[in-house]
Symmetry: none
Subunit: 240 residues, 2 copies
DNA sequence: TTTGCGCTGTCATATTTATGTCATGTTGGG
DNA sequence: CCCAACATGACATAAATATGACAGCGCAAA
């Protein structure tokens, strides 16, 4: 058997609420429950933080000055890159309407105020468990290449492939964003995380390492160079 | 200097409202803002006008006798041909319900009555801008040729075509400006960018490279030479 | 604590690809 | 039939990317 003693990395939770008091309350409760807490006071901050920090879950207040929670929710769900981040709406309105509209727009759960910290934590965990299962569910197969998120393993034609952490994330990113060109800057943002300052050429090097790793058979040209634009992962071989 | 006097074609806006007074008010405001205005007094007229005139945007009253705005909205969004036309709902109901239902059904924005002409114009422009941006990401298909901006890929009959960055931009320019002649100077400006000094003959060379690249089958004469004037991209083959 | 090893990011250098210009061949209209 | 306009292939150069090497770092085993 394998070493399953892996430490679960702390989940990052972003709290979006215009009232500092509520943010503090939530923050304390979530922190005590072992989460990593981020905060934003409005939709703009929230959006920036989501791009930068890629939180695992967003707690989103329904009513906010300026862009409302619902609008932000829709915007997030419209963008492919943020669409899969689970959202829990918080609302003081006890009406069914809000609940339905929120869920329709893609919220994963809905917590009416007032709520107890216990209930909050329980719902958060429930949503994380659910989406966790879904996100990690099926391995991604492409030709002979199998990417198994559960086992954190990549194999080609049965042979297990050795990838460094960065190459693993890079491959995961590509597999979940196929047939589309990404600039080096974008790749740095999505694979390395928002606020790193790195030479863009670093991407080239990791691309090369990834290519080398998966080039066991003839599986090289999945990762394609698009001159002047960036890189693209494509299942459809570009040759005849 | 060059002839940069390109005329922005007026956007066509369809107003759908059963009250003539409101139609007039909207019409005047939109006309003053430089839009081309169409009108319809009920859902049937509206539907016919949308099919016939392909407006760039529809202003749709929520409450109308007979088929309501919401029903028309749903119908339009169901039909592939009209699904992409942006719709702004107008409503007297200030309730969240309407807003949510409208947005859920696919409306692009929602303006509660009463509203100022200024707000109307601003929202219309905002929606048109957003839709315009999104349109840039849509693949362009012309015969067997597919131009996919997101994948940064051009293919003919399924086969991927190899283009240099400049040829790619040149093709993109032509695809978004079809059926019109552009001088070499104009093409230099649009494709190379304003401040380059290059021999105009350079355009010829790139035109040739583009032609060669897309001439896999018989797809050559999309790019047509107009003696003494420049070049034109035309989908309708000019043979025979 | 020390040692060793795998990972990373950065360079300098090699390799590939794209670009603009030129010389020369073709074409079309008057 | 002639001339101006356009097409084409070749080429030197510039630009972008690939590659191999390397040193610092963190972590885990000894």
């Amino acid at each position: 058997m394998n070493d399953k003693v892996e430490i679960m990395p702390k989940h990052r939770i972003l709290i979006v609420d215009d009232e500092a008091a509520i943010r503090d309350m939530l923050s304390i409760a979530l922190d005590a429950a072992g989460f990593n807490v981020l905060e934003a006071a409005n939709a703009q901050q929230a959006h920036a933080s989501i791009i930068d920090n890629q939180p695992d879950l967003v707690l989103l207040d329904w009513m906010m000055p300026g862009t409302t929670g619902l609008e932000l929710l829709r915007r997030l769900k419209r963008d492919e890159l943020t669409a899969k981040i689970p959202i829990i709406m918080l609302t003081a309105k006890a009406e069914e309407d809000s609940k339905i509209a929120g869920l329709d727009a893609g919220a994963d759960d809905y917590i009416p105020k007032p709520f107890s910290p216990r209930e909050l934590i329980s719902r958060v965990n429930a949503v994380l468990r659910r989406v966790g299962r879904e996100a990690l569910k099926e391995p991604i197969t492409i030709g002979e290449l199998i990417f198994d998120p559960l086992g954190h393993r990549v194999s080609i034609a049965g042979e297990s492939i050795n990838l460094g952490p960065t190459e693993y994330r890079l491959l995961q990113f590509f597999l979940t964003h196929q047939e589309r060109v990404y600039s080096r800057g974008q790749i740095l943002d999505y694979v390395w995380g928002g606020n790193v300052y790195l030479d863009e050429r670093t991407v080239d090097v990791h691309i090369r390492r990834l290519r080398k790793a998966i080039s066991v058979a003839g599986h090289e040209n999945y990762v394609q160079t698009v001159r002047g634009a960036g890189y693209r992962f494509s299942a459809q071989m570009s040759n005849a």
